[in-house]
């Protein structure tokens, strides 16, 4: 109850720092989801709808990457962008942009994997029809995406959920810097380390509320689009 009270106090009136943290969180999650879906949806649809040599190997690879521990993704991105790393000159370590890079590395395999298995199982009839009509692989993929919009929508939300809940990778590459790269999850981690467990839980409650609002908004928009 203490945590609920603290959560309420942080939101009404909204705490300035909390708003900034929520802003960074949403910005990071939005762009990671956007980029990983731009890469993952077409690739997943292509892999799911076409049969080619080495497909089972690629699928195994993707399923392995779907289980990539966030800490490892964080370490990989860190070693790429560290001062003496291959991309050190870009000076991107400890920025929101590099957090998006780490998230994209984590989420894209998930988007590809989910999309391809959805396309494979649910879109057989569509694919057969498309083959019958002699469509190209790309056109078939597009058709599948069009047909299974709501399932693919859940893939997108899944990607967003992963992104907003992730803590291991973003704390390594983002550094949890106040007013700059601190997001909800790393803020929760910090409060936990400080020993302020009930305040940390209050932040967790707020994170859940945000995730709920985003999900509700997204399904509302999709519904509107469908009705049109």
């Amino acid at each position: 109850m203490e945590s609920f009270r603290q959560a309420f106090e942080l939101l009404f009136p909204p705490d300035k720092e909390l708003l900034q943290i929520i802003g960074v969180t949403l910005r990071m999650s939005f762009f990671s989801t956007l980029i990983s879906c731009l890469i993952g949806l077409p690739l997943g649809a292509l892999i799911g709808s076409k049969s080619f040599r080495g497909k089972s190997f690629i699928k195994k690879l993707i399923h392995t990457l779907m289980g990539l521990p966030p800490v490892v993704a964080g370490l990989i991105v860190y070693s790429l962008f560290t001062h003496y790393g291959p991309f050190g000159k870009l000076n991107m370590l400890f920025t929101v942009r590099v957090m998006v890079v780490a998230q994209v590395l984590l989420i894209t395999p998930v988007v590809i994997g989910l999309t391809s298995s959805f396309i494979e199982s649910a879109s057989k009839p569509v694919i057969e029809t498309a083959r019958g009509l002699g469509f190209s692989g790309f056109k078939t993929a597009r058709l599948c995406i069009g047909e299974g919009r709501s399932s693919l929508f859940s893939v997108v939300l899944n990607a967003f959920g992963r992104s907003i809940a992730e803590v291991g990778a973003v704390s390594i590459v983002g550094g949890n810097i106040q007013w700059k790269t601190r997001v909800m999850t790393t803020a929760i981690m910090l409060e936990t380390n400080k020993g302020k467990f009930s305040f940390a839980l209050a932040l967790g409650i707020i994170l859940l509320i945000i995730a709920f609002i985003v999900n509700a908004l997204a399904s509302f928009i999709v519904k509107e689009v469908k009705d049109d």
Binding site: E2, E17, W179, N193, K194, G195, F197, S198, L201
Partner: protein, 288 residues
């Protein structure tokens, strides 16, 4: 507050685990024991809550095997920032604490959670920074003067920002002039442990206040030098406090006392005074 927290956790997590940790009734054996045999303690597990600097410096892994062999106790070390280390004891999850933040320690005692604050060793915080020392910190009389120079030149500075003992020491040095992380972009409030902050300082070529032990243990991987050591305002005192059995139940009070007695003994003192010489050429901790 902790009861409410426990209820919320129980509701959310279903498992009763969290609820038990915070407010179980004691197992009768641990409190009813009268005179624990030195060689075979009845309750052999001592829960020590300490700060990362003590554990990460290797001091405890160095001392504990001797203590455990001599007494038959087993010390379970939990390490976190001082804030969390103290909170764990308040939540009933530790028998004894070893921390370094005087104000928080006194608050802990005033709240009735601790028996007595026993300062027993110290070392110095050091200021580390880029090798070319752009703010000209070298030669400052004390940390306050060094911080003024960093502030004047707006040189990058990484702060722990996590209410740890080191962070509290840093805030004390800034005094009334604590930089505002929202406005002063050179002041980086990282909210992470000592190791992560030093890595960040090295990456960003920033200054940082650190305990000497952690810096020495990481020195090879860092592109930083000690720019100021041993100012009078950089003294870092460590204390032992047994958790008060009148306030918290389920404690291993005999174990906590045995650990404290041993840590204050001549034997432990000798070991502590020598620690670090073999590896770094300097002792990392001095006795009070």
């Amino acid at each position: 507050m902790k009861k409410i927290l426990a209820i919320v956790m129980a509701l959310i997590l279903v498992a009763g685990l969290a609820a038990c940790g915070a407010k179980t009734e004691t197992e009768p054996e641990s409190t009813s024991s009268t005179a624990a045999e030195v060689k075979a303690p009845e309750n052999p597990v001592i829960r020590l809550s300490t700060t990362t600097s003590v554990n990460d410096s290797g001091l405890l892994p160095y001392l504990l095997p001797t203590f455990e062999a001599e007494t038959g106790y087993k010390v379970e070390v939990q390490s976190a920032g001082t804030g969390a280390a103290i909170q764990k004891a308040i939540d009933g999850n530790a028998d004894v604490i070893l921390v370094h933040a005087k104000a928080s320690e006194e608050e802990f005692i005033d709240g009735g959670y601790g028996v007595e604050r026993l300062p027993f060793m110290y070392n110095y915080f050091v200021i580390v920074g880029p090798k070319d020392d752009p703010a000209g910190v070298k030669g400052s009389a004390d940390a306050a003067e060094a911080f003024d120079k960093i502030d004047d030149t707006e040189s990058k500075f990484v702060s722990r920002g996590d209410e740890s003992g080191t962070h509290k020491a840093e805030l004390k040095i800034w005094g009334d002039d604590v930089p505002d992380a929202a406005e002063d972009s050179w002041y980086i409030s990282a909210g992470q442990g000592m190791g992560a902050c030093l890595t960040m300082a090295s990456e960003q070529q920033a200054y940082c206040l650190t305990d000497k032990a952690t810096f020495l243990s990481m020195q090879d991987e860092l592109d930083l030098d000690i720019v100021l050591a041993e100012g009078e305002d950089m003294k870092n005192t460590y204390s032992l406090i047994a958790v008060n059995p009148e306030k918290i139940d389920g404690l291993n009070t005999e174990g906590a006392q045995a650990f404290i007695d041993w840590m204050l003994s001549d034997e432990a003192s000798e070991l502590i005074a020598k620690y670090g010489e073999a590896e770094y050429g300097v002792a990392l901790f001095n006795l009070l």
